[in-house]
Symmetry: C2
Subunit: 328 residues, 2 copies
């Protein structure tokens, strides 16, 4: 079964954020009847990112914090599926302020699930975290059945929330899909290592400070590939059923390699790399991540954008927004 | 390494409850310097269960709800290890009131962990749930690395809380052990299928209503065996480290068998069993549970009390408290 877009209304939490805004675009392109966007604009974002959709009457924006959601909130009325992408997204903040991170990323999710249960909203697509939920597996390539042993609170929160997707699906006949993805990058992103490197290199094109020893090994996925993966994974939505998918490129990339790609895409030369040292970029940083994605690959999804091309597209976007004075 | 009891103070949450009160006894027997008991007495329990220890100056009772715990609460001062046994214990209530269950069993645990982090309390022993965290595994025997897919909110809550034991251990140098046990029974218990059967058979010794079809297959562990398992498992406590243990008998027992054991122990005959029907006793009831306990078995623990003997001990206790007018 796959979702009937044309006759239904949808909710996107965090719809003014980087990934969430692409989810809204996706739903509108799919012909969704209507999209309600819930966002507290906490990340300095703005509903202007959705202005065209708002002007076209496809999207309604509601400024609301997910921690304030109540079971009978009117926004859930007649909603067919919630795309839950609102989150406190920073691992370092989750480490410094564990209770705050918990309240947004777990309590907020439970509040949404409880409203769905109360108003019989059938489906949820959830943004989890393949990069942090499994914890440190070393050379072990984690598949969806690998045990979850998060080493930071962001990963704990995403894993904790997923436990409730599992129980709510069974108990209240919801259908839920969890997308366990890693680092997502591309236009509109104002977060993550590439964005940080861009700003550091703008400030000083001769020297780049790299957190850790540069050897941390992760996966990076271009935003359009994530949206395609979501489209494929959400075809498994069915009532009473919970399903999780690892979503990642097959290749891993070191932070050093990201640094080189950024330098090249920005047209710089002879940049000196300076390392803060240690094998983690920050407390709770997972040193090495590799995900087994054979489950979603078997459904026909593979990423299309190589990292060299993706970085170039992203850097071009960052340069352009900077020139337009819209850089944050 | 194992815990130094004599020179240290300990905290037991839920210490006035069934299992918690045995944990307090255990700590006092081990020679603990002092034990702080945190309990909200929500289950109709009383600190009188600890009266001897209180009179002996070994135990201080603080009436407090774990949902109200703040990072700098004075009860955590100088505590060496928290034995966290306070919980909303009922699966049916967790299904009917998911947010309430979440706030006690997850939020409460995070609040305790956050206070431990703030005041550098090194160790936690956590009461998790081998019977509900794994969800429905059918004939698969779950070991500690089996993926968690809870089908009720009680199991989701215990699994969610465990994710934070994992992250907090790594991030803040705590040492945590999670005890994944199933049904625990024995004197002082006022919860669970045996207690229900006892009361039903007292009210009507000729007929016993059984929830479901009686074929649900679970494990039942006598309270003293659990305390011994806790003693063994807690020897793995070390800073920066999280460890989970399945704790269970090797044999499983059907609800029908429990009914027969209760009838025999109560000295009844010709009791007619009446089934409410269906393969679950209640929504979210896990039909079949079998745990692989080889991890803790390898450390030298095996259960000592056969179920026939345990049921008899428990029934004798229930009869006695009833005669003393102390049955609840």
């Amino acid at each position: 079964m796959s979702i009937d877009f044309k006759d239904n209304s949808f909710m996107v939490t965090g719809g003014c954020g980087f990934i969430g805004s692409y989810v809204v675009d996706y739903l509108v392109e799919k012909g969704a009847n209507h999209v309600v966007v819930i966002d507290n604009l906490s990340a300095g974002t703005s509903e202007k990112i959705l202005q065209t959709h708002i002007d076209n009457g496809k999207v309604t924006f509601v400024r609301k914090d997910i921690r304030a959601i109540q079971p009978n909130d009117p926004e859930f009325e007649e909603i067919h599926a919630v795309y839950h992408f609102a989150a406190q997204p920073s691992v370092p903040i989750s480490v410094k302020r564990p209770y705050y991170d918990f309240s947004v990323n777990v309590e907020g999710t439970i509040r949404i699930l409880d409203a769905m249960r109360t108003q019989d909203v059938p489906f949820m697509v959830f943004a989890a975290s393949g990069g942090t939920m499994y914890g440190e597996k070393g050379d072990h390539v984690a598949n969806e059945e690998t045990s979850l042993k998060p080493i930071n609170n962001y990963g704990a929160a995403k894993a904790a929330a997923e436990m409730y997707l599992s129980s709510f699906s069974h108990l209240y006949n919801l259908g839920t899909v969890s997308l366990r993805f890693g680092n997502i990058y591309g236009p509109r992103s104002t977060h993550g290592v590439m964005y940080d490197f861009f700003n550091k290199l703008k400030a000083d094109p001769q020297q780049l400070e790299i957190l850790g020893n540069g050897k941390q090994t992760k996966t990076y996925l271009y935003i359009s590939d994530l949206i395609n993966a979501m489209d494929v994974a959400s075809q498994t939505l069915r009532r009473g059923h919970f399903e999780a998918f690892n979503i990642s490129t097959p290749v891993t990339t070191t932070v050093d390699e990201i640094a080189h790609l950024m330098v090249r895409a920005m047209g710089l030369q002879d940049v000196r790399f300076v390392y803060t040292g240690g094998d983690r970029g920050w407390p709770g940083d997972v040193k090495k991540i590799k995900l087994d994605t054979s489950k979603i690959n078997a459904m026909g999804w593979t990423p299309k954008v190589p990292i060299e091309e993706g970085v170039e597209l992203y850097v071009n976007y960052l340069k352009k927004t900077e020139m337009n004075g819209r850089g944050s």
